[in-house]
Every structure is written in C-alpha cells, then in structure tokens.
Symmetry: C2
Subunit: 341 residues, 2 copies
DNA sequence: CTGTTAGCGCTTTCAC
DNA sequence: GTGAAAGCGCTAACAG
C-alpha cells in the first residue's frame, strides 16, 4: 500500500480511504490512486486491515453435511444476505458429530468471526460455553433449542411429522410406520420420530412401528433395506413416513423393484421437499421447509446484531419461527379411498 | 495473550510457542500456560498471527455449485488433505459464471490465501491474470486446460463420453443421442457433448442428435422435457446419453410416467456416478470419476507447493490425470441384444 | 528452553 | 479532503 501511495503521490491513509470506497476522497485523487493500483496490480490485504480495525469481516456457519440440498439452500440464503452485507463466510461441516462441531467452533473462533451460525440446539458443554463467551452474536438454526444460547431461527421438527401423520390419517391410513430417526446423533431426525410417536398416540392408532436405520447421514441407500424390513416386520402396514426424502426415494425404488405399487401397496412420505421428490415417479409427498429463508433470516439477524452492538444496547435476543407445509403428491395419493372401497 | 503470559509468569513469546505446539517449551511451563489459558478462556487470534508470520493458513477453493455431489466429493477431498496439513479452506461458488469467478478470486486474494484451487480451465482474462500474478500455487481441476496456469488435476470430459458412446455402440446401439452440453457456460458439459459428436463421427453412425437444455445448472428437472423432446424429434432413437446423472434420472422418470420402458424403448446413460444412479430403478449406466481424489490430489499439490516454495527452488508444475470408468447398469442393459433378436 | 526487540500492513484517531 | 503518529495481537529473529 505504501508503494501505491508513493506512486499516487498521497499518503497510505488516503489510499486506504479510496479503496474502502466510503471515505471522503476527491475524484481526482481517487483516480490517481486507482491508476497506481492497476499499474502495480495491488490487492488490499484484509487480514492486516482486520487486525487494525478489529473487524474481520468473517461470519462462521456450521452445518451437518455438504450432501443435503436442504442445508445447501440454507448456505445459499446465508451467503446471499451476508455477501450483500460485505461479510465473508467461513463454512464448516460437522458430519453430524458434536465433537467435530466443538473442534470447528474452536477453530473458527481463532479467526475472530463477527457472528456464528450453528445448526441445532444441542452442543457439547464446552462448545456451548465457547459460543456463550465468544462475545459475538450466535444464531441456532433448524431446531428449537430448549435453552437457546442467543438467537434462534428454527422450527419444530416434531411438529412437522405430527402434521404429516395427521394428514395421512385424514387420508384414511391407519397403519402408519416411521423409517429412521432412531439415532440421537441426528437431533432433527430423532425429533421427527418423536413427533410421529406422539401423533400415533394422540390419534389412538393401534401401533407405532419404527424401523431403525442407525447413525446419520441417512441416504438413499438406507431407504430400500428400511422398507424391505418394514414390510417383513409389519406386513399389514399401509403407509411409511421416512425421516427424509432421499430415504423415501430409496424406499420407493425398492418397491418398484419388488413390484409393490406405491401408494397402493404402501404409501410413502418424506421430509425436506428435495428436487428428487418433485420429479420422481411417483412424486413424493413431503414436508416443505423454507430452507433458504432459514439462512436469510439467520444472516439478517447476525447483521443486525453486529450493527446493534455498537449503540451499547444489546439487541433483544430473537427467535424466528420458520413455517412448514405438507405437500401431498402421488406417493400417498388417492390410495386411502381406493383401498377402502 | 499478554494477560495469559502475565498470569503464567512468562513472556508472550513463550505463550505463543506453547500454543503452537511445535515450539520447544518445558512441560512445566506449558502446563502453567495451559492453566492460564483455561482460566481466562483465551483463544488464539490467528489473524494477528498470520499478519506477523506472513502465512495466513488459508487456501481458497472455487467451485461451480453447492448442488452437485460430485463437487461436494471434491470439497471433501480438499478438506481432508488440507485439514490435516493445518490449513483452512475458503470456499466459493460461482454458479457457473465466469464473472462471478473473477469476483471471487479477487475477494479471496484479499485474504492472502497460500494456494488457490479453481474448477476448470477457462477464466476471464482478468481472472487469469490475477491467478498468474497472485504468487501462490494454483491448481486447476476437473478439466484439461489447453494452456494451464500452474498445476492441473483433471481429466478429459470429452474422452469420457467418447468412451460411453463407444460402449453403447459395442452393446449394439446405433441411434445414439446426447441430451445437454449445448451451453458454453458449462465448460465440462460442453466438452462431453463434443466427445459424443466425435465418437459418432469416428464410429460412422448415421446421425448425431443433441437436445439442447440451455445454461447450467442442469438439474433433474431438465431430464423429463429433454427426453420427451428427443423422442419427438427422433422417434427411432435407441439410446440417450445425458450430460449428467441427475438429468438422466429425470429422463428415466419421464419414461416411466409415459410407459416407455428403459432400456427396452430407450437406453439412458449419465455422467458422474451419483448415489441416485446406484439406487434408482432401473439403475443408471454412468461414467465414474474419482471426485474425492481430485480434491485430495489438489490439496496435496498445494501443500507440496507451499512447502516447496521455501527452498527457493520452484517445484515443477504438475499435471495429474484422474482416471474414469464406465459403469454399465440396468438402464442400458441387455437391451441391444433383445432388440436385435 | 526462554526472553527481547522489532515490525507484519493496515486503520484509528486526531490534527490540519 | 488529507496526513502523521500510534498501535491492533501476534511471531520472526536473534540473544542468552
């Protein structure tokens, strides 16, 4: 920067102001500086700047996995808002491990993020403590933590599947099973299963049946074996709710393979409204969440909190509810009436 | 850090050494320091450290999209190797826009990465210049650039589809179409289409037929309309090679929907060996690339180059070829013989 | 094995 | 609108 200043015949301070755009610099000096910048191929060094300004321009975002377009949507939402706010995002993936999350949080804290977005409301004690004492706004997403650290942008995973179960009941299904959601490592899948069980109880259904799939990530590959096991364990089952759309898709493909018509032999529903489910044959009934909005709202909250910190008035902790909706498609269609008739 | 040093009764330099792990520090002083760190809840500030040491610990990785598990695999490979090498990764997504890539490169350069991994070998002139003058190792991946900037970890997209076309020919198919690959924005898809056309010519097939899908990203949604249009434009077609697996999947689902048996009425092949294709019904014939290896090798190259720079001997620019293989599955199975008989 | 000194490249703060 | 001085929090380099 000193070189640029010398070449432009000004001080480094003026160069700094010109490059940041906001500072008050004459058009003339500005163009001289730009010329010098171009000639030297100079690129501003933000790491030096952030040391001095005490604002790194980083926000951390920690998510479970790269391989889930629901989370990718959230990432997109975060990027969109924070990008416009001039922040860069440091992404980290936990692979559904709380220990890994703790490590990631610690690693990111070393980069002095101005805000932290995490997925879910359960963390290791140390992770929680790190987040609480980090001194920057924290947003927990995709869940409704019992005891929030700071801000929350989430929804009740249990409620979504309660709704789905009720909807299947409404369509005439009585023997409804759940595939997945047995591992506490997948906080959200676990909550969905709980929602299923609660709904079964409230609707007074004869039986709740859960097919365990083990620890996450649950992928397409889990659906086939899951549905095969379900039909063996409970041949009278009429409908299966899968912990997620990819799992539902795997289940449906297995049904095709075995000549079990969907939804006539077995209705299948998923979660997440993945692209897959819209184009699959049959199309898959699912729970739609505004995943991108989760990211956007989280980003907005962080941005506000960063700005808000300056007036020495800590902005009130916010909890934003993201709505969900049941999308009924072919995989649970007309079946109920036809099977009854 | 001064606080920690005071509490532990040592100098900041000793604290710095203890915290980096490598420095020579007595076990006794080290434990005193750790105690002080824990008591104060101190977390090292890497941005300050990197200013001083001139090593930021960052490596940039720029990819086309979040929504493609092939690239996610590459991201995973990069993370794996660079994580072990003590580097953090700054990810950026271009959404297949070269302008966006240029912006990303510039933004990342401001963070002084120690290495840059980009996807593909075509960049805007300015982007190319930025990469060339960045003074850090650059790896181009997923392609075989005609004029590489520095290192390359790639493969010939054209060759993969030449192979696929030849394989279909070998299986008896003669009327083979290609779906997608019409947009120059998708460098790799475009190359695949070129491979198809070359193969058609070399095999002396009667006709090359390409169904255009427009600019990327090409998703599942494109497959259905693509195949419908193909069968209308060229009813005699026997096999379709899709620019990617998701597209092939969409095509197959459309076939189901219309009662066109796959592969009996139309054989379908894809690219990328997505999880989808292994579990779909029918399973999808595809090109498998060692995507994770692309990431791993790129990471290794960067790591070597960073180390190598010190001995003042610039390490030779390397070009690593990633192999591909054709995986034949049900979507192109037995059809040829049966249709001939 | 530990401490001292200097300085990384920028921005803050204040003066003009 | 521009400049000078000081310092952000750490580590390189050297001395002991």
């Amino acid at each position: 920067m000193a070189d640029v200043a010398r070449l432009a015949g000004v001080s480094t301070m003026t160069v700094s102001r010109a490059l940041k755009g906001n500072g008050a610099v004459t058009a003339a000096t500005r163009s001289k500086i730009n010329a010098a910048v171009d000639e030297l191929g100079y690129v501003l060094d933000l790491s030096a700047g952030s040391l001095s300004s005490k604002r790194t321009g980083f926000v951390s975002a920690i998510l479970p996995t790269l391989y889930n377009s629901n989370f990718s949507d959230t990432v997109n939402g975060i990027s969109e808002v924070l990008g416009n706010g001039g922040k860069e995002i440091l992404f980290g993936y936990t692979n559904y491990s709380r220990e890994r999350e703790e490590q990631l949080i610690e690693a990111m804290l070393r980069r002095r993020p101005e805000g932290i977005i995490v997925t879910g409301g359960t963390h290791t004690p140390r992770a929680r403590q790190l987040l609480e004492t980090a001194g920057v706004p924290v947003v927990e997403t995709w869940d409704e933590p019992a005891d929030p650290i700071d801000h929350v942008v989430g929804f009740s995973n249990a409620a979504t599947i309660e709704d789905m179960t009720a909807r299947l009941y409404f369509r005439g299904y009585r023997r409804i099973a759940f595939i997945g959601g047995d591992s506490t490592d997948d906080v959200r899948g676990f909550a969905r299963r709980k929602g299923y069980e609660r709904a079964v109880e409230m609707l007074g259904l004869e039986r709740a049946h859960v097919v365990p799939l083990g620890p996450p990530p649950i992928t397409i590959a889990h659906g086939g074996p899951g549905v095969a096991r379900l039909l063996q364990e409970w041949p009278e089952v009429e409908a299966a709710i899968c912990v997620s759309d990819p799992c539902a898709f795997g289940a449906i493909m297995e049904c095709h393979r075995n000549g079990w018509p969907v939804p006539e032999r077995l209705a299948v529903a998923g979660f997440g409204n993945f692209e897959l489910s819209r184009h699959c044959w049959p199309t898959i009934t699912t729970v739609a969440i505004a995943c991108t909005d989760i990211g956007r709202r989280s980003g907005e909250l962080i941005l506000q909190a960063i700005d808000g910190q300056k007036p020495a008035i800590a902005p009130a902790t916010k909890s934003i509810q993201i709505p969900h909706s049941i999308i009924e498609r072919e995989s649970t269609g007309e079946a109920a009436s036809s099977r009854k008739s």
